[in-house]
Symmetry: C2
Subunit: 256 residues, 2 copies
């Protein structure tokens, strides 16, 4: 087993009453997870909080102390319920003021009569913050130390990641293999999977059932087995052994 | 403003490496949010952690101390990576053992040769736990004090809520009204919305842009305005006033 340097760790903080009320189904966590995985940055945890400064400050200070990076989404628009910039300033103990470059970006974006006080609010950044480009709607995000503050609108958040990626230390990406066994429940493969996991403690082995429905009929259900690890040769070897052991038990792998 | 008793508060804890790796997009948070809202239970925060006992115990102990209810999803299946029952036992400081009723349910579900040691694991419940019925696949969830431990598979989690609902204290449900203004960005309604929020501090006013795309064309974008509060008469009055103030500014409400 080669020595592998520790990978950077990350957390996500999703900000917005609309997620907790059920009005909006968050998709940004999954987008961020899929963005970080190939960079070798380990997403360790996520939190969802409402539009309340005490909640945002508490969660942000816990997460930024525990991880190399924190990515926040939501609360950077022009309306009174957009309080993320102030909350991030409070978390870092720095004032929030109009960022000249952000102001210039916004002034170019809006006609003179449209660039009102509410829209100027989107230029407010905690002191020391570095802008994150927003190619969709102009109003930038910002980075303060290890915290990346991004929009909640999924298309805008995703577009901001182009400007975030080059700023991250990367790690060794995790390789993953997925095996699909149809017509076989998790309980039928559990012993084989446990033995595989015990034989290769550097890898992680997951098991995810599929096909459940309230009026299920036999044969519909099955299991996805997922092998994950940083050493691709070891992941490949584990897949080879797992397939052989499943076949010895009479369990065939289906096309994924 | 009538005096309203405080509503119960809740948190959600989503457990599973597959959410943080990006393999699976969580939908259970949204399902739980929409389940709790009409019961008048305030969902205050959510966390997502991996399949690690220290993470689960830390998050669960923080959340169960801070809220009336905690709802967990994931990690109660038969495989080695299903560690939620042990983690919940560790969080409460109680042993985990085979629950006779859970064992009976599982024994009925499987043919004798199929009811193996892995599947017996699904009968393990922290001492003092009360089962939560699983009408989809048999293996029950469980409740320990104010913590409801449910499956990660969305169809199973959702079906378990039928058995959870009668156990909850309820509060006064939040009423919400949504107004759609097309062709008008958030910045154009921000002042009117802020004034509305300042005039009615018992209500919450949210603003959510829609229609952003990378190659956006003018007129596509717009804003949803959401008014929320427990007093339906006040929510209705706020909606009436907001519509009037938007119209005075030349902004028409579109059909939602």
């Amino acid at each position: 087993m080669p020595q592998i340097a520790p990978s950077p760790t990350a957390a996500v903080l999703i900000i917005g009453d609309e997620i907790l009320s059920g009005r909006t189904r968050d998709t940004n966590l999954n987008t961020l997870a899929r963005f970080l995985a190939p960079l070798g940055v380990d997403l360790m945890e996520a939190r969802v909080v409402g539009d309340r400064q005490d909640q945002i400050v508490g969660a942000l200070n816990a997460l930024r102390a525990a991880h190399d990076y924190v990515f926040t989404t939501g609360g950077i628009g022009p309306t009174h319920d957009d309080i993320t910039a102030d909350a991030v300033g409070a978390a870092f103990g720095v004032p929030v003021s109009e960022h000249p470059e952000a102001l210039a970006i916004l002034a170019r974006r809006y006609a003179p009569g449209e660039f009102n006080a509410a829209r100027r609010r989107m230029a407010r950044v905690p002191d020391g913050g570095v802008l994150i480009a927003n190619p969709v709607s102009g109003a930038p995000g910002f980075q303060v130390e290890n915290v990346f503050v991004m929009a909640g609108v999924p298309k805008i958040m995703e577009a901001m990641l182009d400007d975030v990626a080059p700023r991250l230390k990367t790690g060794v990406p995790v390789h993953s293999r997925s095996l699909r066994v149809a017509g076989v429940g998790e309980g039928a493969v559990a012993d084989i999977l446990r033995a595989a996991a015990e034989a290769r403690p550097h890898l992680s082995f997951g098991s995810y059932p599929f096909g459940f429905s309230v009026d299920q009929t036999p044969g519909q259900v099955g299991t996805h087995l997922v092998i994950r690890g940083r050493d691709s040769a070891e992941v490949n070897a584990a897949e080879h052994d797992l397939v052989a052991n499943l076949r010895s038990a009479g369990i065939e792998i289906a096309a994924t």
